[in-house]
Structure formats: C-alpha cells, structure tokens
C-alpha cells in the first residue's frame, strides 16, 4: 500500500511517514498542496491523508484536484480543528466518512486505510 501524507506541519508529516514505513506501509509526505499534485502526477498512491486546513489550498479542494488526476484514489482527512462530530459535519457532509482528529492513534489510521483499500467501491 502506498500512502501520500499532506500536512503543512513538517514535523508531524515526516514522523508519521516514518512510523508508517516501519509498519510496512510505503509513505511519502509533502507539506504543500502543489507538491502533492506533482507527486500524484508522478506516482500512483492508494491513499492520500490530507490535513483539512492548509495554507494555499484546503484539504477538500486538494481532494477534488487529486481525484481528477487519479479517480481511484482514497482519502482520509485529518484535522486539529473541532471535534470528530464537528469535523464530520463540516467535511464529511461532502460524502467523506474517513476523518480523524489530531492527535491521532496510528492504529486507527492504519485500520482506516486498510478498510478503504480493501473496499472495491467507495462507499
């Protein structure tokens, strides 16, 4: 499984990527939306983990752009803003159900990624 982490917090993204690598998940990370688009154009990813609030482009907008490039890609949103319910209302109203609130538990993230990738169709 290949994962792209997009978060403006470099420290967070790099550490998370390394931790996923240790668990046998190939994770790349970038800190800006533009870099993410570039990466996806170059390489095939199964899942993109997006921060909702980033400078330049929001997680939702970025998702729309990335979907255009790779329609089969799955998405997980991360946010430090608002509770899970809040976040679900704001973001998952757009049809997304895969949301996590920072600070996250790595096991939650991995199981979420697994369930998304296993699904043949996005639910």
């Amino acid at each position: 499984m290949r994962v792209l982490l997009v978060d403006d917090e470099v420290d967070l993204a790099s550490a998370l990527a390394e931790r996923l690598d240790m668990r046998g998940i190939e994770a790349d990370w970038v800190s800006a939306g533009a870099d993410a688009i570039k990466r996806v154009e170059e390489k095939k990813y199964d899942v993109a983990v997006l921060d909702v609030k980033m400078p330049g482009i929001s997680g939702l907008d970025l998702k729309a752009r990335l979907e255009q490039i790779d329609p089969g890609m799955k998405f997980i949103f991360l946010t430090g803003y608002g509770s899970e319910i809040d976040f679900k209302e704001l973001t998952c109203r757009a049809g997304e159900t895969s949301c996590l609130v920072k600070p996250i538990d790595i096991h939650d993230l991995i199981s979420m990624m697994n369930s998304l990738v296993k699904k043949p169709e996005r639910g």
Binding site: E9, D11, L12, A15, L16, E18, R19, M22, R23, G80, Y81, G82, S83, E84, I85, D86, V101, K102, P103, I104, I106
Partner: protein, 575 residues
C-alpha cells in the same frame, strides 16, 4: 407572624436601598403601599362621608319628628285641660252673677246648684261653699264636714280677694285629699264680699293623662310654677313631689326643650303654661328610648359601612398585590433573561476561546504524539536501538499525557460547539461521563467517589447536548460544593415508568439544604453561598435550561444527610 410570612408576596422581601433592589425597575413595596393608600382614600372616603352625612340627616330628621310630635301632643292636651278648667270657671262665674248673695247662702239652693253642676259637667265638682270676707265658711254642701272652717290664712283665699277669680294649686286642705279650688268673688251691697268656692278632684286630669299613649317612656303630668307635681306622673314622682328637673322658662306658646334627668339621662321635654292657672303641662320623653329604633338602624348602617369598607379593602389589597406581584414577576423574568443572555454570551465566548486554545494545542500535541510514537516505534519495531524499559516507560508516560490532553481538548471543542443548539440522539450516560472528564482533576484531588448506575433498559434520547452538558455540569458542581472531601456522588440513570423518557438522579452526601430554603433554591439570586462568591444564578439557570429542553427538575434534601436532584427528560426534545 408565620401566617403573615406565608401570604407575604415575594416583592415584599426586596428591601429598598439594597443592591438586590437596584436590579429591579421599580420599588415594588412603595408602589404597593401608594396604590393601596390612594385607591383606599378615593374609594373609602366618599363612602364614609356619604354614610356620615346620611347618619346626620336621618338623626336630625328623626329628632325633629320627635320634637314636633311632642309639641303637637302638648298643645292638644293643653287645649283639653285648659278648656276643662275655663268651662268650670265660667260656670261658677255665671252662678255668682245669676244668684243673689242670699240665695247662695241658702244651703238647699246651694245643694241644688251643686247637683246641677255635677249633672251638667259630669265629674269634677266635689263640693261648693260660701266663705265670707273674713274667710269663714258660712255655707257648705259636699261630702266633707267643712262648715265654719276658717280659710283666712289660706293662700287661695288671699289671691281671690285681689283677683275676683282664682284657680288654686292642688293641695290637701282640711279634707286631706288632693284637690284644687276655683274661687269666684261676689261683691255684696254693703261693700263687703263673699266667695263661691268649688273644689275639684285631680281625677279628671289623671284620666286625661292616662288616656294618652306616649312613645319613648313618655310621661305627662302637671306641675305648678314652683315645680311641685300636681298630678301623679308615671316616672317622675307622685303628686306633691318635687319635679326632678328645673321648671322651664315661661313662654306663651308650646315649647320643646332638651333636659337632663336625675340619672343624667337625656330628656325631650314639651311644655305649655296653662293661662289663668298655676299649672304647667309637661310631656317628658326619654331620648334614649325614643331613639331605640334609630339605634337599630344606626347599627345596621355602621355594619353596612364596616362590611363595605372591609370588602373594598380586601379587593384593593388583593388586586394591588396581584398587579404588583405580576409586575415584579415580569421584572424578574426580564432580569432572568438578561442574565441568561449574559450567561449564554459568556459561555459562547468561553467556547470560542476553548476552541481556539484546543486548536492551537492540538497541532503541537499531534506533533508530540507522532514524535513520541516514532521514538517508541524505534525501540519496539526497528529493534536497532537497545530496548530500554525505562525509556519506553518514559515515552509511554508522554504518550499517555498526550492522550489525556487530547481527550480534554476534544471535550473542550465539543463543549464550545455544543453551546449552539445541537439536537441529536445521545445516551445521557455519555453526556454525564463527558462532563465528569472536566472535573476529573478536582474529583481526584478531593477524593470524591463518583458512581454511575445505569438501568439496562435505558434508551438514548434526542436532546440538546450542549444544554445537557451545562445542566449536568451545574448540578455536579453544586454537589461538589456541598460535599466535603472524600464525599460520595451517586448518579442513577433509568427510564421513566412509561419508558417515555429518562430520569437522572444526582445524590450527594453533602451538607443538605434547610427546609425553608428548599422551595427557593431555583429562584434567581437566591444563594446560601453569597459569602463564598455564589451568584445565586447557577440553579435558576439550570432550572430554565431543563425547562427549555422539555424536562423537569426537582430537589429533595435532608440537612446533614445530603441532597438529591432529579431530572426527568423526555425521550425526544420535539415531543
């Protein structure tokens, strides 16, 4: 006093010139006092005035009625008595003029005359006598033996010498029977004179008196000008007694005056001087007895007045209290909603601040989380670093702390978000546990044990999460304040009997609430903790919040044992 306290409306306890009174728009006690005073004046004064006027007018009318009745009766009786005497006087005058002196001194002739008089006038004449100028009775016809009696020194004899005709006072005389004398002088050819004397009993006068029926313990009698009774009276003495009040002043007409009796009783006295006689006709009535019927009417009038005034006062007091109480309630509601808004604003800004803080903390927390996670991963997954149990323990501690901080920031965010109405399905137990997270540290520090019992058949409810959080937070805070350290808080959650809602019962083993405070604790600004900085708003806001989400809150308490707050919530806020 305790009864007064019970009926005393709430506004009465708002003392003017206290900080509590400043919050209100008006001084309700003063409004109440003034409105009661002014309305009472306007309503009662005219009533009292009219009643007093009516009282006065009726009394005067009655008095004048009694006076005129008395005057009328005195006039009529006077006429009868006066006529009785003057008729007899004229008859004697005629006899003197019609009979030569010798004829009158003839005993047979005199007896014939007496018989004729007694036949003609009926009762009255007792005897006849002829007295010579020396006062010696020369001839006498009648039932007594008065022949040759000497009348020279008798007052009536001296009077008739000067006046030609005289009617005497009533006296006993030689016969020792009360009688009066009509004496007529007859001039003789030798320039001396003789007197025809007739004596009359008092019987006819007594009869005339007795025939009169007089109201008001009325009395009618004759007195002479010295105040000596000439006939028997009913209440004021017998013949020859002294009349117990002064002789009235002379007046040629009938008069009615007020006098005072021997016992100090007020009298209405009608009198008339009978001209040509020494007699005064007196009609005496007791005012007290006369006014008996009036007193009855007066009593009714006073009772009517008292009843009306009582009724008016009751209506005034009732309506003034009702209106002022409603004003006060409206004012209190206004204050309450102002405070509610203030409270809501405060909570909203706390919420906004909490959200900002949580967000700002969450990102660094996430970084700590990942970095510490990575350190741990390096030890546990990569095996490239020697596994040091102490280091792993330290890292675990960091991760635990992060987890806890994360939990709190999440709760904070949820709390701030829930300040806006958020109707959703939830389990009350979850909300209780969320609230307890905020108080975890205090609970731990004070050693308070919190036990939650949930009945298995409890179902989730649809309600406002934010309001429920505030309600539970307030109740639990309140319980904590009442409890000493190492206290116990027990929370029972169970469905209502009809399973149409949920009952949440918070019981503490704190100091309890005094009975007299128990039904006031939901009132705004009621606080027993003012010295400890209580605003007295917490429970009243809680009360309002519970009602806003369609619930009910009740309290029961035993001083020294603890307090239980019971909140009943509907299954759905919409219902």
């Amino acid at each position: 006093m305790s009864f007064l306290n019970k009926i005393k409306p709430a506004f009465w306890n708002v003392r003017p010139r206290t900080s509590a009174a400043d919050r209100y728009l008006f001084n309700y006690r003063r409004i109440w006092k003034w409105s009661v005073f002014l309305i009472s004046i306007v309503a009662i004064l005219p009533l009292v005035f009219i009643t007093a006027l009516d009282y006065r007018v009726t009394e005067q009318a009655l008095e004048s009625e009694f006076r005129s009745q008395t005057a009328h009766m005195a006039s009529n009786t006077h006429l009868a008595m006066s006529f009785f005497l003057s008729e007899r006087k004229s008859a004697l005058n005629f006899i003197v003029h019609d009979n030569p002196p010798d004829a009158l001194n003839n005993e047979n002739r005199l007896a014939q005359i007496l018989k004729a008089l007694q036949q003609g006038f009926g009762e009255g004449f007792m005897d006849l006598g002829i007295i010579d100028s020396n006062g010696e009775q020369k001839t006498y016809v009648g039932p007594y033996s008065l022949q040759d009696k000497d009348y020279r020194e008798h007052p009536w004899f001296r009077m008739v010498v000067n006046q030609d005709v005289h009617i005497s006072d009533v006296f006993l005389g030689y016969r020792q029977v009360p009688h009066l004398i009509i004496a007529v002088k007859q001039s003789l050819p030798d320039n001396t004179f003789q007197v025809l004397r007739a004596s009359l009993g008092t019987g006819p006068f007594q009869e005339m008196q007795d025939k009169l029926s007089l109201a008001g313990m009325g009395d009618v009698f004759l007195v002479n000008k010295r105040g000596i009774l000439q006939t028997d009276s009913r209440y004021h003495g017998k013949v020859f007694d002294k009349m117990p009040f002064p002789v009235p002043d002379y007046d040629p007409h009938t008069r009615v005056i007020e006098g005072v009796g021997p016992q100090g009783e007020k009298l209405l006295i009608g009198y008339r001087f009978i001209e040509g006689t020494p007699f005064i006709l007196m009609i005496v009535k007791q005012k007290k007895v006369l006014l008996e019927s009036w007193r009855q009417a007066r009593m009714e009038l006073v009772l009517f007045l008292v009843f009306s005034v009582t009724l008016i006062l009751a209506v005034i007091l009732g309506s003034a209290t009702y209106m002022v109480r409603n004003m006060h309630l409206a004012d209190e509601k206004r204050l309450m909603s102002l405070h509610h808004i203030e409270y809501a604003n405060k909570m909203a800004s706390i919420g906004r601040m909490a959200a900002t803080v949580a967000h700002e903390i969450n990102n660094p927390l996430a970084i700590i989380n990942e970095k510490a996670g990575l350190i741990k991963d390096l030890f546990t997954i990569k095996q490239s670093y020697s596994a040091d149990a102490k280091l792993i323990g330290l890292v675990d501690a960091i991760l635990n702390a992060v987890r806890r901080a994360g939990k709190i920031t999440k709760q904070l965010l949820a709390f701030s978000r829930n300040l806006e109405a958020s109707v959703e399905t939830m389990h009350p137990e979850d909300v209780v546990r969320e609230v307890l997270v905020f108080l975890e540290k205090v609970t731990e520090m004070r050693g308070i044990s919190v036990k939650i019992y949930v009945a298995p058949q409890t179902r989730p409810i649809i309600s406002d999460r934010g309001k429920l959080q505030q309600i539970f937070l307030n109740i639990i805070n309140n319980a904590y304040a009442a409890m000493s350290d190492n206290g116990h808080l027990t929370i029972h959650i169970r469905p209502t009997h009809n399973e149409n809602g949920v009952i949440i019962r918070f019981c503490d083993d704190g100091c309890g609430i005094a009975k007299e405070d128990l039904n006031r604790i939901f009132e705004p600004f009621f606080s027993t903790k003012t010295s400890q900085g209580g605003t007295g708003l917490g429970l009243s806001i809680t009360y309002n919040l519970v009602h806003e989400i369609g619930g009910k809150i009740t309290v029961s308490s035993e001083p020294g044992e603890g307090t239980c707050f019971t909140i009943t919530l509907p299954a759905s806020i919409e219902s």
